[in-house]
Amino acid sequence: MAENVQLWMSHDVAERIRRHGEETFPYECCGALLGRDSAAVENSAQDGTQPEAGREVLQLFPLVNRRDDSPRNRFAVTADDVRDAEKAASQHGLEVIGWYHSHPDHPARPSDFDREHAWPWYSYVIVSVMAGKPADMTSWRLNDDRQNYSPEGIEIRNSALA
């Protein structure tokens, strides 16, 4: 399910994620990715062609990191935050397709802690912020067996699904 998938976003959306990570440094930032999953759109075409597996981030829903005890290496989004993000997405005809957070002074790779707390299907975007400057940005999806993540390519492009 999580193989050969792409996450599309505009240059502006990518920059806003990086900027959020820069603003909250040395603490972790977090927020929701609002957009559309391509399968839902392209299944309706039923033209027999293999759909391009991917999804597109069209808006961000920045959130406050609720982990005030260790915000440098942890982030938390409450169920109320999730409901707010879902409400915001639905008002724009979108859905919550994933989450982003920063890794201050750490690589943009998921940790064991990330995996234990991850949900399947969502895209998890991680931006590394080294010495206050945004660096690599990656995206991951939890595998069905919950044991590992699969990387998801981030493609910067103009909106195709909007």
Binding site: M1, R74, A76, H101, H117, W119, P120, W121, Y124
Partner: protein, 110 residues
């Protein structure tokens, strides 16, 4: 004392309850956003859901059968943690919602 109080013997009537499935789990539930189950408690409702869609179980429960910490369950609009948790009784027409919470952090290990 010493004899059965007939008023305590009740038929175990199951209630018709709707369970709202969160977006990330719909791929394991035939893409449905909700399911109808019969149950007397929230726990039974969740059990009914995972009986219908077995793949959901590992994403909702730990190996020892406890709800995962980032799985939040609401009965109508009330968090069951502030009620009787999974033993919270349900009524006909109640809605049980599964709402994710999200957590993570660095401590890179890969």
């Amino acid at each position: 004392m010493g004899r059965h109080d007939m008023t305590t013997i009740t038929t175990e009537k199951k209630m018709a309850v709707k369970v709202i499935i969160p977006t990330p789990l719909r791929v394991y539930a035939e893409k449905k956003d909700s399911a109808e189950v019969s149950a007397q408690t929230v726990g039974e409702a969740l059990g009914g859901l995972t009986s219908q869609f077995g793949e959901l179980r590992k994403h909702l429960f730990t190996d020892d059968g406890k709800l995962r910490s980032f799985v939040n369950v609401y009965l109508n609009d009330e968090d069951i943690r502030y009620m009787a948790k999974e033993a919270t009784p349900v009524k006909d027409g109640d809605v049980v919602s599964i709402v994710p919470s999200i957590a993570g952090g660095n401590h890179c290990s890969l």
